[in-house]
Every structure is written in C-alpha cells, then in structure tokens.
C-alpha cells in the first residue's frame, strides 16, 4: 500500500522500538482523491452498462433491428456523420492529454491553447449530436424501444460531455486564479480522466448503435 494519511506522521521506526506517532495531519492526499475519483468513474460505468444491458435486452426481444413500428421498418442511423462526429470527440481526447502534459511541464500558454481546443471540440461534438437528433428518422424518443434506448443512452452521454465541457471551463478559470501549480494539479488530472472516460463510453455507444 502506498502512502496514506496515517503514515505521514513522525515515526520512530524499526531501529528504536517505540513506534510513536507524534503529529499526524488530516488531509486528503492525491492518491486518496485519485482512488475516490476512479471509483466514481467505475460506478458511472455501471450506470451506462445497465442502460446498455437494457438496450441489448430490448433489441433481443424483436426479430429485426431496427424494429418495425406500426408496420413500418425504421431506418438505420447515419454512420458517416456519426463517424465524423466521433472523430471530433476522440480528437478532443488527444488535445486534453496534450493540455495536461503541457501543464506538467510548466508550459502554461500551450496548456491554455490545448484546453480551449478541447472545450471547442467538445462543444462541436455536442452540436453534431444536436444535428443528429434533429435528423434521426427513428420516430423520436418515445416512438419505439429504438428511440428510447438510443436517445436515453446518447442523451446521458451528451449530458456527461456537457458536464465535462463546463468542468473544463471551471478548471481553466481555476488555473487562471492560481489554484494549481506544476506539482499539485489534481483537478486537471481528474478532468482529463473524466474526459477520457467520456471518450471510452462513446466508443462503446458508437459501436453498439451505429456499427452493430
């Protein structure tokens, strides 16, 4: 086990026989936050997994997919547009990674450019998603189990992207206020992790809705 709060204290250790801790400070350490944040992401993965299970379960109850609703065969989703939009999101993962690397190396100007690139790409993805919602011919959210699972899952993902964009803007403002420095930047790590998480979820959704 790595360093924990209780172990940061003053220890007169193995040499002497008294393992007495004089002062131990209460504080959240970086690895506590990292573990906590990772666990949060795990529970979020379960949320998506449950809906993905629901989608696959419902899909399994009908003979053809997309399903036939009121005697009408629903069309498949437009793969080409979604593929381009996916690239926008995956690209934003690269820019976010670059932003964090620049921060670690103290290149603040480059960090500012790359985090704004991420924010813009994320917003672009959301706009693309909105365009797709407006043009999807699958009978709307409440029209069928196709619409229900597609709009709920991608909507939940979109909501996560929206939260991510807002979080990145907050992080940028925090860096302006000097909350983080080159060695203490947990918020940026969390933001990057979150952004990659949103990317990975999209990989699964893109496969399940457009390719599968």
């Amino acid at each position: 086990m790595s360093v924990s709060v209780a172990k940061q204290g003053h220890v007169r250790g193995a040499a002497g026989n008294s393992l007495v801790h004089d002062e131990v400070i209460y504080q959240e350490t970086r690895d506590m936050r990292l573990l906590g944040f990772a666990l949060f992401l795990v529970s979020d993965v379960v949320l998506f997994s449950a809906f993905i299970f629901a989608y696959l379960y419902l899909r399994n109850t009908v003979d053809t997919w997309p399903p036939v609703v009121d005697g009408k065969q629903l069309p498949r989703l437009d793969v080409a547009f979604a593929a381009v939009n996916s690239c926008v999101l995956f690209g934003s993962g690269v820019t976010m990674h670059t932003a964090l690397e620049n921060w670690k190396h103290g290149k603040k100007a480059a960090f500012n450019i790359w985090i704004w690139a991420t924010i813009v790409l994320g917003t672009l993805f959301l706009c693309g998603q909105g365009y797709e919602y407006a043009h999807a011919q699958i009978g709307g959210w409440s029209g069928s189990i196709f619409g229900a699972s597609f709009f709920t899952l991608t909507g939940m993902h979109g909501f996560h992207v929206l939260v991510g964009v807002i979080y990145l803007i907050v992080l940028f403002l925090q860096t302006r206020k000097g909350v983080y420095d080159e060695t203490h930047y947990f918020g940026l790590t969390a933001g990057t992790l979150y952004w990659h998480f949103v990317d990975v979820i999209w990989v699964a959704l893109f496969f399940l809705f457009y390719l599968f």
Binding site: M1, V3, S4, V5, A6, K7, Q8, G9, H10, V11, R12, G13, A14, A15, S18, L19, V20, H21, D22, E23, V24, I25, Y26, Q27, E28, T29, D31, M32, L35, G36, L39, F40, V42, S43, D44, V46, L47, S49, A50, F51, F53, A54, Y57, L58, T61, V62, P67, V69, W141, S142, S144, I145, G147, A148, S149, F151, T152
Partner: protein, 570 residues
C-alpha cells in the same frame, strides 16, 4: 506490503492539527452540517430510527388489517400503498442507512485509527440526501402512495399513482447517497488505516464495511438506471417496460434485482460485522477463524452479484438460465455457513457474559440461520415455483432482515451506545427488551411460513376464510403488537441512559478494538496520536497489540492489559 514507514519525517510547524481542521463552535456547523464522521454517524442513526418508527407503524397497520379477513380496516387500495411504503422505507430509509451510514460512519474510522473518513464534505452531502429522500418518500402519501410493492414491477408500477414518481426520485437520491458513502468508505479503509494495521489486522466490522461499500458503490448505480428508465417511462412515456409499446417488464426485474439482491447483502454484511465484534468481546475469546470470516464477507459480496435472477424463477426465465442461478444461490450458503460455524466456535468454551448486546448477537445466530435455511429452500426452483409470492417468502425475509439486520442493529446499539454517549444503558430493561423482542418476533413471523405453504399470497388485503388462517394471522398480529411495544423499551432505555445512565468510561466491556482505547464519547480528533498496530484485535488474554495509544488518562507508552484474562482451558 510496507506496513510501517521507517523514515522519519519532520512535521512542518504550522501543521498542527487544530490549525488545519479546527472543531467548529457554532451549533449549526457542529450538529447540523457537521463534517465530523461521528456526528454524521449519529445523525444517520437518529434519522434512521425515526424512519424505523414510521415504517414500523406501517407494519402494524398491515397487521391490524390482517387481524380479520374481511378487509374492513383499510380498503385494498390503501393497503397496497401501506405495504409498499413499509417495504421501501425499511430497506432504503432504515436498514441500509443505519448499518452503513450510521454504524459505518461512527465506528469504522475509529476502528482503523483514522481521524475522519477520506472525504468529510462528501460524507456531509451523502447524509443530507437521506432525510430529503425520506421526506420525499413519505410525502408520496399526500399525492397517492406507490402501490406496486417495494419491487415496483411494471406494468403495475407504470399505472400507479403520482406518488410512484416521488418513490423513484426518493430512491434515486438515497441511491446516490449510498454510492458516495461506498466510495468514501473504500478510500478510507484502503488509505487511512493506522500504521501496522494490515488488511488482515483490521477488525471484522471494517472488513464487513469494505465488502458492503464495494457492493453499494457498484450495484446502486444499476438501480439508478432502472429508476431513471421507470421515471422517464411514467413521466414522458419513453417505452422501456410497457409491453404494449415494445418494452419488457422482465427488463425491469433484471435491472431491479441486479441491485436489490446485492442490497440484501448490503443490509446483512454490516450486521455480520457487528456480530463478529460482539461475540468475542462477551465470550472473552479470540474470534474463531478470523481470516475465514473476513474472506467469506468478500466471497458473499462477489457471489451476491451473480444470483439476482433467483427472484425471477416464475417470471418466464429461460430454463437453461435458471439452473446456474439456483446453484449459485445455494453456493452463498457456504461462506455464510462458514461465518455461522466460526461464530459458534467462538462461543464454544468462552466465558460468556449475557449482556443485551450479546443476547441480541446470539438471537441473531438463531433467527438469521433459520432465515438463511429457508432461503436455501427458496433457492431450489421446484420449491420456489410453489412458494413464490406467498407468506413463506415474507416469513423468510423477515427472519433475515429483522432477525438478521435489525437484531444486528440492536446488538450494535447496545454495544456501542457507551462509546457514542459515554453512558451505560440499563441492563435489566435491555434484557426485557431482548426477551420480549425475541419471543414476539418468532411468534409474528414463524406462522407466516406455514400460512404461506398453505397458499396465503403476500400483498393481498384479505385471506382465505378458514379457521387456521384466521387463527395464525391473529397470533402473528398480536405478537407484532408486542414486538412494537418491546421496541419502546429500547427507546425508553436510550432516553433514560442519555440523561441518567451510569458513566461508561473508555472501555466498559473490556473490548480490544481501537475505538475502546479512547475516551467515551471520543474527542473531536479521535486520536491525538495515531497508534501503531501489531496484531489482530481479538487475542483476549494477551497484552493489547497497540503502541503509542492516547488513553484518556494520558498516553500509554507500553501495551496495557485492559481486558480480564481469558478463562483457563477446561
């Protein structure tokens, strides 16, 4: 594993405890919006016990209705709402918050030698979601209570009154609270243990909390998804569950039980932990099979994820799927049996002291084992096809949830009350409480087994007009009134003790886990100096395995023998 760091670090002069995290002085910051795990734990207990009274009164309404089979006390519609709310409140507003938020928060950080949980502010947020959720849930009565049972199976739940939406939101909220508490506890247990406290030196209650936290962190968001879909379908007509729109009611059952079966273990594992603390203390013996008890908690948590469909044997599950679920369900009995036998071996030859806490722990062994065995019956598909949806099931789960979880909560209350308040409860009243509870509990729920086997269905406002059915229902009802009355003894005892009880001192039971090494109630910082831990806490008869303790009388430089020595082997 590097247990104790041997490097000597110099603490910066400004890093004095009180400077970083001073004890708040205002009433609101100290008792209402406190970030101290002990205060939050007590808040959970008070709120949980309040809902326990409300949900218990609902249970009494059910029993008043079933005194006669003419459905004249309540209309069937009202009755549906009452049992739905009783079940929902007991599971989500009483047992889960009490065993995780209540005892987990108060006891666990003390037992691992930590000053607080990993994320105190998150803890504060988790707690405050709980009363809000509870008020929302009970608020459903004002607009029409949900009436499809605590499981809220569609399509009935889709047609239920507006209160069903309140139910969704309330359970969603308490689910988020439970998830966040789970995350908080895992990080606390993995990262904040006192030096020298390896995983296999943790008290068993901490092991139980670790397994429970993993369950609530992973499973609860699956329930959140199911609830979100139900809410969307009810409010916006998004088809997930309605078969007329292509949805599937069975989908809800899968998603619901994927959470709600692990939830059974969320409710019982902490009670296992409490029992594992109480038994060795009052038997004055090391716990038997420490590692097996610890690892069986983890095994139960793991297998608990793979048994959910045993609730669905009558739902048209594919036969090839039923068999593995039956076998896996029966496998749960193995780690549970390991625990039961280890506890019995702990009692064997011990110098047993029958305090109320110990009596409830022993009562737990009897009633929980009984409920566990009927659970194995129900796991067998042929039996389940016959007994599903009858009072046999009601009897079964009240034996594990009341005879298990609630008895565990009672044992924990008697055991840690001196630590929480610094005062002792009246032992004689406690004994009365136990015996009245134990006898009336069995008289209430035992008849349900044969009523169920004779075919009395659950969730129906009336029953067959036969001499037998009326007689046994009246026995159950009258006993349930005694059961409710006996609980008043506990509350009276608590109130009396709070003002008049004898001062407890640091360690009234002669227990050996870390929380008993500091004054009662514990100081704001728990440990001025965090002790080093040399061994498991249960070796009665040996010196305490702690170095550098900060005892109420002053720092103890050397291990002290605070517990009376173990009796000589016979």
């Amino acid at each position: 594993m590097a247990v104790v760091s041997t490097t000597t670090t110099t603490v910066a002069p400004h890093a004095v405890l009180d400077h970083i995290h001073p004890e708040p002085t205002s009433f609101v910051r100290r008792y209402i919006f406190s970030i101290d795990h002990k205060v939050i734990g007590i808040q959970y207990m008070i709120t949980g016990l309040l809902f326990f009274v409300l949900a218990g009164l609902l249970a009494e309404l059910i029993r008043i209705q079933l005194l006669h089979n003419d459905a004249r006390f309540m209309s069937p519609e009202v009755y549906n709402g009452v049992y739905t709310m009783h079940g929902s409140a007991m599971v989500w507003m009483v047992i889960i918050p009490l065993v995780t938020g209540g005892f987990g928060n108060f006891v666990m950080p003390l037992q691992i030698g930590a000053r607080d949980v990993a994320f105190p502010w998150l803890n504060l947020a988790s707690f405050w979601m709980f009363p809000i959720a509870g008020v929302l849930l009970f608020g459903a009565f004002l607009v029409g209570a949900p009436d499809a049972g605590w499981t809220e199976y569609p399509p009935v739940s889709l047609q239920g009154p507006v209160g069903t939406n309140y139910w969704c939101v309330a359970i969603f909220l308490i689910g988020i609270s439970s998830t966040l508490t789970g995350i908080n506890f895992i990080v606390t247990i993995l990262k904040m243990r006192a030096p020298g406290m390896t995983l296999t030196r943790m008290p068993l209650f901490v092991w139980a909390q670790l397994s429970t936290a993993a369950l609530s962190m992973i499973a609860t968001t699956a329930l959140a998804a199911a609830l979100l879909a139900l809410f969307l379908e009810r409010v916006f007509g998004i088809p997930f569950y309605d078969p007329t729109k292509g949805g599937s009611p069975i989908l809800w059952q899968h998603m619901f039980w994927f959470y709600s079966h692990p939830a059974v273990y969320i409710m019982i594992l902490p009670a296992f932990g409490i029992i594992s603390e109480v038994l060795p203390t009052f038997a004055r013996k090391p716990i038997f099979g420490y590692k097996m008890i610890a690892f069986s908690s983890v095994a139960i948590a793991l297998v608990g994820f793979m048994v959910w469909a045993h609730h669905m044997f009558t739902s048209g599950l594919a036969p090839w799927l039923q068999l593995p679920f039956m076998i896996l369900t029966m496998i749960v009995a193995i780690p549970t049996g390991i625990k039961i036998f280890s506890w019995m071996a702990t009692l064997w030859g011990g110098s047993i002291e029958l305090t109320p806490a110990m009596l409830f722990a022993i009562g737990f062994l009897i009633t929980f084992t009984f409920g566990g065995i009927t659970g194995v019956f129900l796991a067998a598909i042929p039996v389940d096809l016959h007994a599903h949806g009858t009072y046999f099931v009601v009897g079964h789960f009240h034996y594990v949830l009341y005879g298990g979880s609630v008895f565990g909560i009672f044992a924990g209350l008697y055991y840690w009350w001196p630590k929480i308040t610094g005062r002792m409860m009246n032992e004689r009243v406690g004994l009365w409480h136990f015996w009245l509870t134990f006898i009336s509990f069995n008289c209430t729920f035992l008849p349900m087994h044969w009523l169920g086997l004779q075919g009395m269905p659950r969730r129906v406002a009336t029953y067959l007009d036969s001499h037998d059915a009326v007689f046994w229902n009246q026995v159950a009802s009258i006993s349930s009134f005694v059961l409710a009355a006996s609980t008043l003894l506990l509350f009276g005892n608590m109130a009396w003790s709070f003002y008049k009880g004898k001062r407890a001192g640091a360690n009234p039971w002669g227990a050996r886990t870390l929380e008993w090494m500091i004054s009662s109630p514990p100081p704001y910082y728990n440990y001025k100096r965090v002790p080093a831990v040399l061994a498991t806490p249960y070796d009665f008869g040996n010196p305490l395995p702690y170095i550098g303790l900060d005892s109420p009388e002053g720092t103890l430089p050397t291990p002290q023998l605070t517990a009376p020595p173990a009796p000589a082997p016979r």
